[in-house]
């Protein structure tokens, strides 16, 4: 393993004098200086910075002589550079050339790659040669192409087997007064989980406002990617924030203004409903490869008409979604919601409302949500209709959101264990409900496709899928009793007591 490249800059972040650098390095090496060239550096990553989290960097470099993708690996040394042409961002990792694709796709998963930063620089490469004429280290002088760019920097690149030469070059450059560049973290907002920083005694409105503001920020951050259809996760994360907003409004009914119930709850329901059809179709499209693997009698290719049908339905539904998200109603909703949140903690009305601490809100909210899950689950029998299990799933989600929104005032360990206990039950209920919904949806799709004259093979294959979903639903139903017993076991109840759920 070699050490990663080391970046240096002038102590005053000013210009770097090439002549002085070459003169200093020439005392030890033959320095071959390349021509100065303009380069466009586009750093690429997923919206939630998965490459960065995995220690990878991906840079699309364009110069007059061509374009290439440079993949940096965690050890910094084994970067792969691949010539490319006609690569446009955003793009799925599948479109990358082979050697880079294999590494990047394993990390980026479902997410598309998009521009994280875009800089135009002027670079000059210095090759440090030994007496055999072999390059033993590389130094890159990288200057901004305009005044607005990041300060000039020198990057010393280590070559495998010649580590000590790079160290020596760094020492020589440090002698010129250059210092290491501090790394910066430009992580994008993608998660809508509330951050810590609220104590139990602070007003509940503070806790709720902070959570609601973070959900709004996530919605805003995901909107451009959603509108541009970069990948399906933008819509998913947007919807999660809307759902969390709705659950938080419900949780805070005791201490939030009346307008929350009368205006904002219906407005966010509208927003949730607006995004549902496209998300449902995304789920079917994403599940198609798995569904193909379920087929026993039919051929996987028989599902191609379904894939085509889903795509054309999605195109239609997306048009409606984009219209809705570009409408005056949506713009008004977001602007006025921001105003509402800004004014939430400092109005006179707030003083008049029931004063509730964050800790008390968490206790009450979790207790209520837990009671509803416990009662709902205990009432489920072998004869209960599917609707009862669907209702219980919604109650579980409310408890989950309460645990998440109140996280800043809950003990981390018990909260995580409570979420883990709840997750097992949610998984079973999710499988049960998804099978139910997908079965009905497939029937609906089949009718639409038959009206369009689809092949019998496609309908038969979809019949097989419905059969598989039916069996899956049965399996989930059989697992329900065990999952609920685990959730309702004494140790889990005690955990909820500690979190306020038993009050």
């Amino acid at each position: 393993m070699t050490s990663p490249p080391r970046a240096l800059q002038a102590a005053d972040e000013g210009q770097l004098e090439l002549e002085a650098i070459v003169a200093a390095l020439s005392a030890r090496y033959v320095v071959a200086a390349g021509v100065r060239q303009r380069i466009r550096r586009v750093q690429v990553d997923t919206f939630d910075r998965r490459l960065r989290a995995a220690g990878l960097t991906l840079e699309h470099q364009s110069t007059a002589s061509g374009e290439r993708l440079v993949l940096g690996r965690p050890d910094g040394s084994s970067a792969a550079a691949v010539p490319v042409a006609d690569l446009r961002w955003p793009a799925p990792a599948d479109l990358l050339p082979g050697p880079v694709r294999d590494v990047v796709a394993a990390v980026s998963g479902i997410r598309a790659l998009m521009v994280a930063s875009d800089e135009r620089r002027r670079v000059r490469q210095l090759e440090l040669l030994n007496e055999d004429g072999k390059t033993v280290a590389r130094v890159e002088l990288d200057e901004p192409a305009s005044e607005a760019g990041a300060p000039a920097r020198l990057t010393v690149r280590t070559l495998r087997g010649y580590e000590e030469q790079a160290q020596r070059a760094v020492r020589i450059l440090a002698g010129l007064g250059l210092r290491p560049v501090e790394s910066t973290d430009d992580r994008a907002p993608s998660s809508s989980k509330p951050t810590a920083g609220t104590d139990r005694e602070s007003p509940a409105t503070v806790l709720l406002t902070r959570a609601l503001s973070e959900f709004l920020a996530t919605m805003r951050a995901n909107l451009p990617g959603l509108l541009d259809d970069v990948d399906t996760e933008f819509l998913h994360d947007f919807r999660v924030s809307v759902r969390r907003t709705r659950a938080t409004l419900k949780l805070g009914r005791h201490c939030l203004p009346e307008a929350m119930r009368t205006r904002w709850e219906p407005d966010f329901k509208w927003l949730g409903d607006l995004t549902t059809p496209v998300r449902d179709l995304d789920v079917y499209e994403l599940d198609l490869p798995t569904m193909r693997s379920w087929l026993v009698a039919a051929d996987p290719a028989d599902l191609e008409p379904l894939a085509t049908h889903l795509r054309s339905r999605r195109t239609v539904e997306r048009r409606a979604l984009v219209r809705g998200l570009r409408s005056a109603r949506y713009r008004r909703l977001v602007t006025e919601w921001q105003d509402e949140l800004d004014g939430l903690t400092d109005t006179q009305e707030e003083a008049d409302r029931e004063h509730l601490s964050s800790g008390r809100l968490a206790d009450r909210g979790i207790a209520k949500a837990y009671r509803r899950v416990a009662r709902g689950g205990a009432a489920i029998t072998g004869d209960s209709p599917a609707g009862d299990l669907h209702l219980l799933r919604k109650r579980c989600k409310e408890l989950r959101y309460a645990l998440e929104v109140c996280a800043p005032v809950l003990a981390k360990g018990p909260r995580n264990r409570a979420v883990a206990d709840l997750k097992g039950l949610q998984d079973v209920l999710g499988r049960f409900q998804d099978s139910e919904v997908q079965r009905q949806a497939l029937r609906g799709f089949a009718e639409e496709m038959m009206a369009d004259g689809t092949s019998a093979r496609a309908v038969l294959a979809m019949g097989e899928l419905i059969g598989h979903l039916d069996a899956e639903q049965d399996r989930a139903r059989r697992e329900f009793d065990g999952a609920f017993a685990l959730f309702a076991r004494p140790s889990s109840q005690q955990l909820m007591h500690r979190l306020g759920g038993g009050r």
Binding site: A80, V100, G133, K134
Partner: protein
């Protein structure tokens, strides 16, 4: 990790030129590539301007007293590393003979860098020896350069038998003509007459061109210093043929 070996019992047939140029082309595509110069003459090592010296020598590597990673050297080209030759490799047969699983040791050594490279080229010395047996077991594809001459066909037969008789997994043998001169009647006849039923013979023929000989003078692969030359395009064609194997 895919392992190619350039191998022939005869010397001076273009093994090193092939290994150097194909390794460069693989690296240019973005594949993390390693070239192991197993020949104590160290021609590939010389081309890349790396010193033909491995600390602990071949003995240190084979006995694992020295890790293979410590001997690796970056070349001047992106994605391409070299495991240099050392004059002590002339005794590698003896070193291998003293180890357990003596015909598998080179493969075991390569296993230690499997996460670091996508493609490995082994540039082999001309002989039939324990090193050759190791190369057979370690490689997925044996690239055999042949000068278009009657004796070359006999050599290919011997080599094919040697591979067929070896135990365990066997590499695919891909022969190709090297240093060919179409102006010579004999060359043309041999190229046309070579039996293609028992051994795969690549369609690409590497001609005898002075620019290939200039590699040692320019100390770089042909596509690096003469990217638009006929020789560069022949090696590109050959790489396109064999990389899919």
């Amino acid at each position: 990790m895919k392992v190619f070996a350039t191998y022939n019992i005869k010397g001076g047939v273009g093994k090193t030129s092939t290994a150097v140029n194909l390794a460069y082309l693989a690296a240019r595509e973005g594949q993390r590539t390693l070239l192991w110069d197993l020949d104590p003459q160290a021609a590939a090592t010389y081309v890349f301007r790396v010193r033909a010296r491995v600390k602990g020598g071949g003995h240190g590597l084979v006995t694992r007293k020295r890790p293979i990673e410590a001997a690796l050297r970056a070349t001047d080209f992106d994605n391409l590393d070299l495991l240099p030759a050392d004059f002590s490799y002339r005794n590698m047969d003896l070193d291998l003979d003293d180890t357990k699983k003596r015909t598998r040791r080179l493969g075991q050594l390569l296993d230690t860098v499997t996460d670091d490279y996508d493609i490995v080229f082994l540039d082999c010395p001309p002989s039939i020896s324990l090193v050759s047996e190791n190369v057979l077991h370690a490689s997925d594809t044996l690239l055999v350069p042949l000068i278009p001459a009657t004796l070359s066909l006999r050599t290919l037969e011997q080599l094919t038998r040697f591979v067929a008789d070896s135990e365990g997994s066997r590499p695919e043998v891909v022969a190709f003509f090297s240093m060919a001169d179409r102006r010579k009647r004999l060359h043309r006849e041999v190229i046309d007459a070579i039996p293609r039923d028992r051994t795969r013979v690549a369609d690409t023929v590497i001609p005898a061109l002075s620019i290939i000989e200039q590699m040692a003078e320019r100390r770089a692969p042909v596509p690096a210093f003469a990217p638009t030359s006929r020789a560069a395009s022949c090696y590109e064609q050959l790489w396109a043929e064999v990389r899919a194997t």
